[in-house]
Symmetry: C2
Subunit: 388 residues, 2 copies
């Protein structure tokens, strides 16, 4: 199965799929929320550490919108380190010497797991917009199939930030008996109108690019780079806080002492944003961006459980650590508090921490020492309870 | 002078310029902050009411980014009422029976005042990107030339919201002796990194549209509609509050009972945003959008006065009413407070009101009774002091 989306990468050639993959759903296809069946499909994943004899030390790390399975160590897509190297590694809160850490690329993405940039075996052409629309629950069902494949009954921990946190919540709702601890970070139980609005701007930016070609750009050998870059720029603003942007960039000028009175990047923030946009198109597929943002917009855990969020956790047996950041205006602390209230309503054991930091939503990916200290303590305590 | 930007309007034909216009700067061109000189140029404006014999009852209403000079009564551009009909009219806080109300289209806009969609007399072609980059101060200098033309020495009041408020502040700084009262609403004394970031996304969306043609789209008979629509969508989110969007749209579906699992507008907020985008391109010129957002990004009143905002108001003799809205996250109350602190530092008489409303930045354009009550009271008091 070739993967044309990777052709722009400096680090991989078309058809290359680094790391581990498994074909799932050949016998029993994945039945999607939208009604379609998918199978067989490829799941790309990485593991770190060793599964113990009791098969009780597995940790599933769930990535965010544009993340990948290389959460630690070398990342062949970026040529840099793993996206959560500060969290995972020797001596880190998630130490491979103690845990068997699994991270899989989500369904619909473009880093090896089947998504719209892959070839539809029925047609021999890239799926494009004929790929079925997916949900967060579909992503989690696919992850559960991977966990089954690895012959793991219960995960010691499911952890993730942002969309990764949505997957954590969905695991708690859909497979309550299969998780020992759940750590949703900087996330929400449902996408708000404002959340949907920002995603819709991004989708419209992609679709407005003539090179999008109704989603069939891979067949036509073009890439909607300009539209995808604009989408990323708009989204990126929501990942940072107003105060963080002011602290980091303020009104500083880019490479000049005085205003140039033109439309080149005058301010550093403009140059930074443009870089965020242009570098993103080298590493992400435009249709995957449409599908995954759609899945996030659909996410409404309460609606899936009779309108009451507590019902989603009715069968929960896990210990929770819910974490938010004061400066996260994408999924503000009030969203985390709603999750905590629902967990309280079913008497689930839950720790709730709001960390005071000005780095905005993306804090979970950054060097926020208090976050690592707290997660280390929570995991340590749970590991003792689990006999690890 | 023809104005091709109007060709898309349902209400006006190319070359039509409704209302009043005046040619300014023929003898003494407007020297712009960027160094260029502009003149002659056209200023389009409307007036409401009658100038009294003492020429002391003139009110200058300053419009926001995409506003126009038709602040009250019939608006020939939109076919609707004036954009501030709730504020201006018989029995309203600004009653034409008492005041001589002036509203001019800002320099760089597309509703009759000279801007990039007009013909550059030197070339016979639309200015496009050869139009000089302008600042808020340039807009205000042009307004002062109009006020001179009307033979008015001192304005009873300068009032405006958002970019209109920036013009109010600039009047206070540049022509302190020419204003009796100043009412900056929902505004800021400088554009923050986040403010600039959102505008840059919009500009990049316009420039990414192949129909933008490096700014020369009018010569080529096309319009960068898709890019401009995306720009408007992104900006529009910043004009509303998260809670306001939730109250008005929440996660309500558009014309259906269940999710369709596709990329059409599923949620009402998506449909609403798309409408905001597509209707905007019928009434606004893409290059004007670039120029005016640029002017706003450049706005930093303190920087123009040695880095100290109070110095901008050092010669102020006006009475101020500064107003903000609790849910305005574009120019939050802290921005207004900074203005008030600077005015306090020069002992200027200032009333400061923060209105508790969930409608976000655009509250100044909406039906917010408390706002009108307060403005009525402030104006009434000032009018008595002025002997009106």
């Amino acid at each position: 199965m070739i993967d044309p989306a990777f052709s722009a990468s400096k680090h991989l050639k078309p058809g290359e799929r680094p790391g581990l993959t498994v074909e799932l759903g050949a016998l029993h296809p994945l039945r999607l929320d939208g009604g379609a069946e998918l199978g067989p499909f490829t799941m790309a994943y990485q593991t770190y550490g060793t599964l113990n004899a009791a098969r009780s030390n597995a940790v599933l790390v769930c990535h965010a919108l544009t993340g990948d399975q290389f959460c630690a160590g070398d990342n062949p897509f970026t040529g840099k380190g793993g996206w959560w190297d500060k969290m995972i590694g020797p001596g880190k809160p998630l130490d491979p010497a103690r845990y068997f850490i699994i991270c899989s690329n989500v369904l619909g993405s473009c880093y090896g797991t089947t998504g719209p940039s892959d070839i539809n075996p029925a047609t021999g052409e890239p799926w494009g917009l004929t790929f079925p629309v997916i949900t967060i629950r579909d992503m989690v069902r696919a992850q559960a199939m991977l966990v089954d494949h690895l012959n793991i009954e219960t995960l010691f921990c499911v952890i993730g930030g942002s969309m990764g946190g949505m997957q954590v919540l969905e695991w708690a709702a859909t497979y309550p008996e299969r998780i020992f601890t759940a750590i949703p970070i900087a996330t929400t139980s449902k996408h708000s109108a404002q959340n949907i609005a920002f995603h819709e701007v991004g989708r419209q930016a992609v679709m407005a690019d003539p090179n999008w070609r109704g989603g069939a750009y891979l067949q036509e050998g073009v890439v909607p780079q300009a539209g995808l870059a604009v989408a990323r720029m708009a989204a990126h603003i929501t990942y940072m806080s107003e105060s963080g942007l002011t602290r980091r960039f303020g009104r500083s000028l880019q490479d000049r002492d005085a205003l140039a009175y033109g439309f080149d990047a005058e301010f550093q923030i403009e140059s930074y944003l443009r870089h965020q946009g242009t570098s993103f198109v080298d590493r992400f597929d435009a249709n995957s961006y449409l599908y995954i943002t759609r899945a996030m917009d659909y996410f409404d855990l309460a609606a899936d459980h009779g309108g009451l969020l507590a019902k989603a956790f009715a069968h929960s047996v896990a210990r929770y650590c819910v974490m938010s950041f004061t400066s996260d205006w994408l999924y503000p602390t009030s969203d985390s508090r709603a999750i905590v209230h629902a967990l309280n309503a079913v008497a689930a054991p839950v720790s709730f921490v709001e960390i005071d930091v000005d780095k905005g939503h993306d804090s979970f990916l950054l060097d926020v020492p208090e976050m690592f200290t707290i997660l280390r303590g929570f995991l340590e305590s749970a590991a003792r309870q689990r006999g690890l």
